[in-house]
């Protein structure tokens, strides 16, 4: 920065600290809760420092078992389902969006804009709004209870198509021309040049879509009838679901933390690409 003003630096750090403290507090609390026993947490006010039950809690959360009262189905399996689902959704969304964006940008054909609009409108049509009929379709296609059913209906992506389109528009024309002179046909150009060039956008979308896929709740609940196809977010809701059940808050929080780890990992590791990919193409 232009000024050499120590006071401003101090203020900046103070603001950052405050921001971090507030933003991270709920997560810290979840962590603290997961390190105590269920009984400790229920006694208001709950302790604010980590307790000694950490290992116990996570073991119970991950592998089930325990004393019966606090036990649930193992989280490990659910994490796997979440992972596969999130990955398939992510890879699927990115692939079909790359193809569509390629078609829309590099070809001239009738109804081109109509196609683009049709894709674009789906941008904000969330599952909740069309869930019943969607379920019907999936069921008619016999895709219930499968990874296909969990993922394919969510695999269209306006966001990704749009982002790739924006990016493709910035790819210099000369590159296509060079490829054409080199004798590359459209698919060859797509595979050899366009896709490798889109790696930053792909990385950014990977983050967004992975999190989207990982955090799905309602759809998996409906589209699967077998508990070993449940993703972990359902696991959490399931633990705090109503009825007369005692909520084992420590396990709930442990599961919340576990459920958060993979996406957090993705976000933190890829944050640089994430921003770069979005900003480079978005503006």
């Amino acid at each position: 920065m232009v000024e050499r003003n120590p006071l401003l630096d101090v203020i900046s750090h103070a603001v950052m600290w405050l921001g971090v403290a507030i933003v991270a507090f709920p997560l810290y609390l979840a962590f603290v809760a997961s390190s105590h026993t269920a009984q400790d947490i229920v006694q208001a006010p709950m302790p604010l420092l980590p307790g000694g039950n950490l290992w116990e809690t996570y073991k119970t959360a991950l592998f089930g078992g325990g004393d019966g009262a606090g036990s649930t189905a193992p989280v490990a399996r659910m994490m796997w389902v979440s992972f596969v689902t999130a990955m398939v959704i992510t890879v699927g969304k990115i692939s079909i969006s790359l193809l569509s964006a390629f078609a829309v940008v590099y070809f001239r054909f009738p109804f081109k804009m109509l196609c683009f609009w049709a894709i674009f409108v789906t941008l904000m049509l969330p599952v909740e709004v069309r869930i019943g009929p969607t379920y019907q379709v999936v069921s008619d296609l016999g895709m219930l209870n499968s990874y296909a059913g969990l993922t394919v209906p969510l695999i269209a992506s306006a966001t990704a198509t749009f982002l790739f389109r924006q990016f493709f528009l910035t790819v210099p024309d000369e590159l296509v021309e060079a490829a054409r002179m080199d004798g590359a046909g459209p698919m060859r150009f797509f595979k050899d040049v366009l896709v490798p060039l889109s790696s930053t956008s792909i990385a950014a979308l990977f983050v967004i879509q992975f999190i989207y896929g990982w955090n799905q709740y309602l759809w998996p609940l409906l589209a699967t009838t077998s508990e070993d196809m449940y993703p972990v977010v359902i696991g959490i809701k399931r633990m705090i679901a109503g009825g007369d059940a005692a909520n084992d808050w420590n396990i709930v929080m442990a599961t919340a933390i576990l459920a958060m780890l993979p996406p957090a990992f993705v976000v933190v590791l890829m944050q640089k690409w994430f921003v770069k990919g979005l900003v480079d193409t978005e503006k």
Binding site: L175, E177, A178, A179, R180, M181, D182, G183, A184, P196
Partner: protein, 340 residues
């Protein structure tokens, strides 16, 4: 190797009433092994012409022949040409080697041969130690050479260059110019080179096409173009500073313009034209004197060794004999020299 023939080439962008004609019937024969430069101001249609030869742009009217074959409807890849782009258009994610090898890979040239050919091109262009690098790790000049390398390995019949030097700084530009000349001498491939820089055109061309607003104004050797410009346009476009075109100089017939290059005006103690000096610029080896004659601006170029006149003072200049040109003021066309 092959010649290139342009027959009455017309290009329109768009269709119907909104169509915009940018090339108005260009005819030219480029000989086998010749190095021809197309030069002209921005927007005059140089790139369009080149891109039609490349097959990247459809030809609206007329015919393009490479060798004896009409190529109007041939895919770019099938025309056996290679092109060097202004911004090089290197594949940013491929190494230098892969950039050069890409076209060959697509053509299914065997691996060994690809390697041999790339290595050879790299050696010619002194790129040997850079083969593993990515384009972004190269300097401008190096990128430029990779772009040329990519064209060379293809061993095409024709090279096309679209302002390949304009992104280089002055020094590198001069140096690369020499390299391109050398290369052409060695490989002898028919080349079409587009530039808007007349120095570049002059130094590189065996023959040059001067274009203006979609028309070919002149097609000749640099000497011809410089010494016998076909029009006021060519006269003022070629040469820096440009030729002085005077309406009111002593002895100019009405309806004509007198052309005289700055270096063909000699400062004389007296006689000749009386000039009022505006500014003087030192360019290193020479000086430019900006003055006015009967209210018309005029530039005189003198050796830096000579005395620099003060702004506001008056000097006398004399046009050198045999260096004066005459143009028709209305059409801008050259008025033929009286046959000696």
């Amino acid at each position: 190797m092959a010649s290139i023939t342009l027959r009455n080439i017309v290009k329109r962008y768009g269709i119907g009433p909104k169509a915009n004609q940018v090339i108005h019937g260009v005819n030219a024969e480029i000989q086998d092994r010749e190095f021809v430069v197309i030069v002209g101001p921005s927007g005059c249609g140089k790139s369009t012409l080149l891109r039609m030869v490349a097959g990247l742009e459809e030809v609206t009217g007329g015919e393009i022949l490479i060798g004896d074959k009409v190529v109007n409807n041939l895919e770019p890849a099938k025309r056996d040409i290679a092109m060097v782009f202004q911004n090089y258009a290197l594949y940013p994610h491929m190494s230098v080697f892969d950039n050069m090898a890409y076209g060959l890979k697509i053509a299914k040239v065997p691996k060994d041969e690809i390697k041999t050919r790339v290595d050879k091109a790299a050696k010619i262009l002194e790129l040997g130690h850079l083969l593993e690098r990515k384009p972004r790790e190269l300097s401008g000049g190096q990128r430029q050479r990779v772009a040329m390398g990519r064209a060379i390995v293809r061993q095409p019949q024709v090279f096309l260059f679209d302002e390949p030097l304009s992104n280089l700084d002055a020094k590198l530009r001069a140096q690369t110019r020499l390299e391109i000349q050398k290369l052409h001498r060695e490989l002898g491939i028919t080349s079409l080179f587009v530039t808007h820089d007349q120095i570049e055109a002059m130094t590189l061309a065996q023959r040059m096409i001067v274009m203006n607003a979609g028309n070919m104004e002149q097609f000749g050797t640099p000497e011809e173009v410089y010494h016998r410009p076909a029009s006021t346009f060519v006269a003022s476009f070629i040469g820096s500073p440009p030729m002085n075109l005077l309406e009111r100089a002593p002895g100019v017939r009405p309806g004509t313009l007198l052309g005289i290059r700055p270096e063909h005006l000699d400062v004389t103690p007296e006689g000749g034209w009386d000039l009022e000096v505006d500014t003087v610029e030192l360019l290193g080896a020479e000086r430019l004197i900006y003055g006015r004659l009967n209210g018309e601006g005029l530039i005189v170029r003198v050796e830096e060794g000579s005395h620099a006149p003060a702004p506001g003072s008056h000097i006398h200049v004399t046009p050198r004999a045999g260096r004066v040109h005459a143009f028709d003021a209305a059409s801008g066309k050259r008025i033929p020299d009286p046959t000696p």
